[in-house]
Amino acid sequence: MPTDRPTTLLAELTHRCPLHCPYCSNPLELMRAETELTTDEWKRVFSEARSLGVLQLGLSGGEPLLRKDLEDLAAHARSVGLYSTLVTSGLGLTRSRAERLKEIGLEHIQISIQDSDPEVAERIAGVRSVRHKQAAAQLVRELGFAFTVNVVLHRANLDRIEQIIDMAADLGADRIELANTQYYGWGLRNRAALQPTRDQVERSREVAERAIQRYRGRMQITYVLPDYYEAFPKACYGGWGKLYLVIAPNGSVLPCHGATQITGLSFDNIRQHSLDWIWQESEAFRLFRGDSWMKEPCRSCPRKTVDFGGCRCQAFALTGDAANTDPVCTLTPLRQIIDQALEEPALPDYQYRYPSEAPLPV
């Protein structure tokens, strides 16, 4: 069977970030600045990605604005025909940088917002950030970028989902993405402090559904439910190694940003191989592509073409075997792991995202 062409590349330009959010999607072991790909290496990767079929590029991090060559990289992405999104905290988006990004043709900027309540927002981010974000949002709007507000939801902000949606509209967002925390890496480490109650989840779902209707035609709202409260797992990016790939700051190519936590999986690097070779041949991509790796109950399940057995990273993180059914699935006895997690007593404090050793080099 010929391999599909990927449509989407998430480029983690750096793991450096001024924020310390306890649900960060970066791995627990953050990569240091000196391991990051150079400007020329990223440019080569973007060209190769486009030739491979990638249409959408996420310029992400960490905080991508900490790369001084971001404008150069965004210009190159545009010149090879990629539709690029800058995924940013907003910190460091000065007027001159924003104007330059507009000039070179960057199309879409996504700014993370932690909460509508400024005190809680800064408690989550672990740093003063609210005013910077408002200023950044104003610039993005003024310069006419496509503008998405992105919010990670959890126990401390879920009850304000309506105010958060209204705030995004006031900021002039074209879209808001509301995604409940996913529990890998940092999120899993902080699960007891982040996990919402069933009541919170149900109320928020109703509020979101009403808001979707209310804002129709003005602001697009996408709402991702917390999978622990669902009966079936989520279909991660249309299946492993099918449409999506991630490149870590050091050039490692991953089928998913959570994949580094699957110990035993080895990743190939664009410093040694072409992106095309990695997409086709890298063991990390081939291992869970298609359905021949599946065990029961997935193997004989009609849902395997719907959710592809769920998330490999979650299966590994919670069961120790990435080839197991995602334990969210109520068709597997592994589901008791999720049910037990839902009974976990709530903890008050976050363990913030910081590099494991010395402070980051400046």
Binding site: R50, G81, H108, D174, R175, E177
Partner: protein, 93 residues
């Protein structure tokens, strides 16, 4: 408030402000690109969307394509436009 989901023959649909049509030389297909999304188009889909510029009405688009393809494409075009409008990828003023 006007409902963008319902297109009439007089509606003048145009692409969502944030969406753009492009040609993908890798797949040799037209694509519609927008924030966090892409739709791969067939030739007919691309021909329809190219006419969604806010000046042609749905009726105009049908007439233009009927003539171009020497066929009665009315139902297909209307259905396609409705689907794209449901997805908010085209809007009608």
């Amino acid at each position: 408030m006007e409902d963008s989901r319902i297109l009439t023959a007089d509606s003048r649909p145009k692409l969502w402000r944030l969406a753009r049509l492009d040609f993908d030389p890798v797949r040799q297909r037209h694509v519609l690109l927008y924030p966090e999304g892409a739709v791969l188009l067939n030739d007919t889909g691309a021909a329809i969307l190219e006419l969604c510029n806010g000046t042609h009405s749905v009726g105009d688009i049908v007439a233009i394509l009927n003539e171009r393809y020497h066929a009665d494409v009315d139902a297909d075009v209307t259905e396609y436009l409705d689907i794209m409008a449901q997805r908010e990828l085209i809007r009608a003023d």
